[in-house]
Symmetry: none
Subunit: 260 residues, 2 copies
């Protein structure tokens, strides 16, 4: 599927860091010849996966992506359940909640539940982050086999924030700690000044896995507030595991806190 593969390669050039691209951008990023690029962009534009600004000539994701994206897991029971419970936790704690999924060694935020706290962590859904550097990301990785983790982490270990695991050995130590203690937490990692706690949840029926986290400002959140978040997430995790048939060892059933 060479044409399709090439088209997808172009689609993957778009990100929140690069929401729109020029003809030359696409050429540089993909390394494809001018004529191939021209034909591919035209095909993508004609089918609705890309659209082009008439003035700037720049390309961006088109309406079809929006229409399809809205359908993505719109009727996912696991996510709906988790989101309902998370809303209550965020209403009580005032902090912002996230639901994310793993893709490779990265995670993608699917849902955000705003808190009432005036100091707000702002991150749009759809954002991609190394799962190695987030609380819920690490919680999800800890639920995988070591082989699976090894296969996901790039051979060239990604450059991560200072407080995140700096190599595979450190990562595995962190993950084993999460497996042992049930605690996944971090501060000043993927976002400076922001801490979070999270856990992973699996559907016993489908095997689907999501990572749930609550984040807050490190400086503005007291130790007792953090302890409260821990208790809230522990209760939430236990409730959701019962609801979804998430089989997990009791020894790691406690809340896993992490960065985010």
């Amino acid at each position: 599927m060479s044409a399709l593969t090439n088209a997808i390669e172009i689609l993957r050039c778009f990100s929140s860091a690069r929401p729109d691209l020029s003809f030359a951008d696409v050429m540089a990023l993909t390394g494809k010849p001018k004529s191939s690029t021209s034909r591919l962009l035209r095909a993508l534009r004609d089918c609705g996966l890309l659209e082009q600004d008439p003035h700037s000539r720049r390309y961006r994701p088109g309406l079809l992506t929006f229409e399809l994206g809205r359908l993505h897991r719109a009727h996912d029971d696991l996510i709906s359940m988790a989101e309902r419970e998370l809303r209550e936790v965020c209403a009580r704690t005032g902090h912002t909640g996230y639901i994310a999924v793993l893709d490779g060694y990265e995670q993608v935020v699917l849902r955000i539940v705003p808190g009432s706290n005036p100091l707000r962590v702002v991150n749009p859904p759809g954002q991609r982050t190394p799962a190695l550097a987030t609380s819920n990301g690490r919680a999800m990785l800890a639920r995988l086999s070591d082989e699976d983790i090894r296969a996901r982490v790039p051979a060239t270990y990604p450059k991560l924030p200072r407080n995140s695991p700096q190599n595979f050995k450190q990562l595995m130590a962190r993950l084993n700690e999460i497996r042992r203690t049930g605690a996944s937490e971090a501060a000043d990692e993927s976002i400076e000044g922001v801490g979070s706690q999270g856990f992973a949840l699996k559907s016993g029926e489908t095997g689907e896995m999501i990572g749930i986290a609550v984040s807050y400002s490190v400086q503005a959140t007291t130790a007792s507030e953090r302890a409260n978040v821990r208790r809230e997430l522990a209760a939430m995790a236990e409730k959701l595991r019962r609801m979804t048939g998430d089989l997990i060892d009791q020894s790691v059933a406690r809340v896993q806190a992490g960065p985010r």
Copy 2:
């Protein structure tokens, strides 16, 4: 681009009426042979445009569509759309444009689009003004229920400029006139010597509402220029309503002009 075209054909089978599809569904909907369908679905799954529920075997839009759709949405939200259109109107008319939202009985200016006219109305974003005394403010109020309007206007009617409605009865008369004629316009109200015309726009999807206005100096703007502004805003309103799914009666679809 036959493979790409066929893949897109499959993607277009998904809708909110059919958020996920089985192998047989796809075959029936596209009429493609089994082997082609199998290869196409596999390619779409491998590239992230579709994902497959491991339990039910059904296909649905994949993570990549979610991510790209979010990028599309970020570009195409209500305010961004309105601002882009307003820029063109202001470029053509030369006057200053405003986008505001309602907060209680007041409006808050979110965006300002400068015109080229040397006589310029200057108002900073974030400014609060009684919506009762502005063209776009009154246009937005006219879109609310009478109970909502009543709940927003303080029990002690606010002191307003001379040409603005001086009591609740006069306000309702003005709003009903806007509802009837679709015209919301004023002069010498919130700013002495300044007139404006505006309309309200609602997102069919989210219910979010904004008020859009173009303002000008009353003395320096001829009647034919004002008529031109009216035509420009009417065309802009119609276009935006189509784009946003703003359902409004045809009888009030004409431009509403107001003070500002």
